[in-house]
């Protein structure tokens, strides 16, 4: 439906480009319909994608909607065994793999490789009539496997009604000017990559795909494609700014208007630096989860400007918040007993709204009776409703019965001039149950003692927050989406005497 509207209203505009290839909205619809016919003929139960960003991602996304089967983008960074297992779970599947990612796999039975060679080159020969209009709003649109750091990956399910609610609640149809272009550098298996495609299609904004993120190439595309809008995760932003510092002014980007970020905690120091490096550009912080069809809270460009310019500490600290809920989202912070908490009280974050799916294949809905979804994030809101996140519920350190958020310790460490990066975790302790441990990356050429770092934290936080166990590293272990792997740090600290 979203693509049909775009193709009807502005079909000759460019929908998506990648390298030298491009599709208009009309061509994107023709390609998606042609693939939908192949999907329907084969009787497949899903359309899987094993690819970096390219034209194939939006074509497969819309083809699966036309065919009425789930779109299942897979993480190409998984191991061969992991991917083969996921494919077995979704078979009989039709697999799109234009960049030959499949060649390292032994495809399970009932997984058929799509013929992708014709896309965007040969004119379609079949009649371009739409297949049966798939109009069941309760059908599954997208199935995304979670990262599975704690066990078998769960298959989060998003239905058409969830996804459409999100788009209609946050995008005005055809509102993008002809000159607008969005640079998509997050991978297609991430909810932010999918929502970027859907939002851009509905608004009429040209999508420029970067197959895999690399800061110099990102900056080159920004200039060459006159990008107006971009989405990044915090670690991407750090690498982009480091690249700019090495080559100042190498590629100017006068067209750039807006950068949105999300997908992980944005350190205060990084966003403060970004507001200077990209002066005049609108910054938006988007907080959301796969299970909530992307964004549920955002910190708007005006919020950023007000916070950065304010001398009021309460307002200024909002640069570190994820903003306020979207109009169609309700948000509550509750304690462990389920009581709703007031402003400045820390607890578990719950959200409710039509875009919130909160459902896993096999396990069904995890929403409570009143439709609330437990995000498993901890946080608190200030008196004006700005949400501050403290980390995942699982990451909370329980020291002698006291709940300690790793986030506040990390903020304190990051504020130290010698510290480039830091993470705090709980490590087993005979005395306290859990004790605070920290892994720290020092700035190049910096030297500092454990004692002085402990003193630094003690001056800013309560003494129970001062890390007892320390490890210094050349860099922290991150996954490809910029999330720090706390379990790796924890294991390393546990090995210490």
């Amino acid at each position: 439906m979203l693509l049909d509207m775009a193709a009807d209203a502005f079909g000759e505009r460019i929908a998506v480009t990648c390298a030298q290839r491009a599709l208009t909205y009309t061509a994107l619809r023709s390609a998606a319909r042609a693939w939908a016919r192949q999907l329907a003929r084969g009787g497949f139960s899903c359309a899987a994608l094993l690819d970096t960003n390219g034209l194939e991602a939006p074509v497969t996304l819309f083809a699966s909607a036309y065919a009425g089967v789930p779109y299942v983008p897979l993480n190409y960074r998984l191991t061969r065994a992991e991917l083969e297992e996921l494919l077995r779970r979704v078979a009989p599947a039709w697999l799109v793999s234009a960049s030959a990612q499949h060649e390292r796999l032994v495809l399970p039975a009932n997984v058929t490789l799509a013929d992708v060679a014709s896309l965007g080159t040969a004119p379609h020969t079949e009649p371009d009539a739409p297949p049966e209009p798939p109009s069941d709003p309760g059908a599954i649109a997208i199935q995304l496997f979670t990262s599975g750091t704690t066990g078998t990956p769960k298959a989060a399910v998003l239905r058409h009604e969830n996804v459409v609610s999100y788009i209609l609640g946050s995008v005005e149809f055809g509102a993008a000017g002809e000159e607008e272009a969005a640079l998509v550098a997050v991978p297609p298996y991430h909810i932010a990559g999918i929502s970027a495609v859907l939002s851009s299609t509905y608004s009429g904004r040209r999508i420029v795909m970067l197959p895999s993120f690399e800061p110099a190439e990102w900056l080159r595309l920004l200039a060459r494609e006159k990008i107006t809008h971009a989405f990044v995760v915090p670690t991407m932003l750090v690498r982009i700014m480091d690249q700019l510092a090495q080559e100042p002014g190498a590629a100017p980007f006068p067209a750039l208007r807006a950068i949105a970020y999300g997908g992980g905690k944005m350190p205060l120091a990084v966003i403060e630096r970004a507001l200077q490096v990209f002066a005049g550009v609108d910054f938006t912080n988007a907080y959301g989860l796969t299970e909530t069809s992307a964004t549920v809270c955002l910190l708007s460009p005006d919020d950023h400007r007000a916070a950065a310019a304010s001398t009021d500490a309460q307002v200024r600290r909002r640069l570190a918040s994820v903003g306020r809920p979207l109009p169609a989202i309700e948000l509550e912070v509750r304690d462990a007993a389920g009581r709703t908490l007031g402003a400045h009280e820390s607890g578990l974050v719950f959200v409710r709204g039509a875009q919130v799916a909160g459902e896993y294949r096999g396990a069904g809905s995890v929403l409570d009776g009143a439709g609330w979804f437990a995000t498993q994030d901890r946080g608190w809101v200030d008196e004006e409703g700005y949400l501050f996140l403290e980390g995942r519920a699982d990451d909370v350190i329980v020291r002698g019965g006291e709940n300690i958020s790793p986030g506040e310790i990390e903020e304190a460490l990051l504020a130290h001039p010698a510290v480039a990066d830091a993470v705090a975790v709980g490590v087993p302790s005979d005395e306290w149950g859990e004790a605070v441990g920290a892994a720290v990356v020092l700035r190049a050429g910096a030297a500092v003692t454990v004692e002085s770092l402990q003193q630094w934290v003690r001056e800013r936080l309560r003494s129970s927050r001062v890390p007892e166990r320390w490890v210094f590293r050349a860099q922290l272990p991150y996954n490809e989406m910029g999330k720090v792997l706390r379990r790796v740090v924890r294991a390393e600290l546990e090995q210490q005497p």
């Binding site: 439906m1 049909d4 509207m5 009807d8 209203a9 209009p133 109009s135 709003p137 309760g138 009604e161 459409v164 209609l168 609640g169 946050s170 995008v171 005005e172 149809f173 055809g174 509102a175 969005a182 932010a192 929502s195 970027a196 859907l198 939002s199 851009s200 989405f231 949105a260 999300g262 938006t284 912080n285 988007a286 959301g288 992307a294 964004t295 955002l298 708007s300 979207l326 109009p327 039509a354």
Partner: protein, 103 residues
């Protein structure tokens, strides 16, 4: 008259207009386009149905249409010559407001 609920998609009996229901109170209503009741997928237009000139100011793709109390909201997914009505009263275009978007 038919039961109208969010997510329901309807098409005009007399022109190319198609809509999706965004918001509706529980219960039945008469949704019209071009002067004739709108149809669900698979329903055929009555033989005598034709565009009523009194309901022919058109519908525009991508616009949201609301009743005076804004209890009903429709999204026009395909434009046409007929204009939209609810229980006989014309629907008007909802003023676009700035939506908070992160994409």
């Amino acid at each position: 008259m038919r039961t109208i609920k969010p997510g329901l998609r309807l098409k005009s009996a007399v022109c190319s207009t198609e809509v999706m229901v965004i918001r509706a109170p529980a219960g039945e209503a008469h949704l019209g386009c071009g002067g004739a009741e709108m149809l669900a997928t698979g329903e055929a237009a009555p033989a005598q149905a034709q565009l009523d000139p009194a309901h022919a100011t058109g519908s525009l793709i991508g616009k949201r249409y609301v009743d005076a109390e804004e209890r009903f909201e429709l999204l026009c997914t395909k434009g046409g010559e007929g204009s939209l009505s609810l229980n006989g009263a014309s629907l008007s275009v909802k003023q676009a407001k700035a939506l908070p978007s992160s994409d």
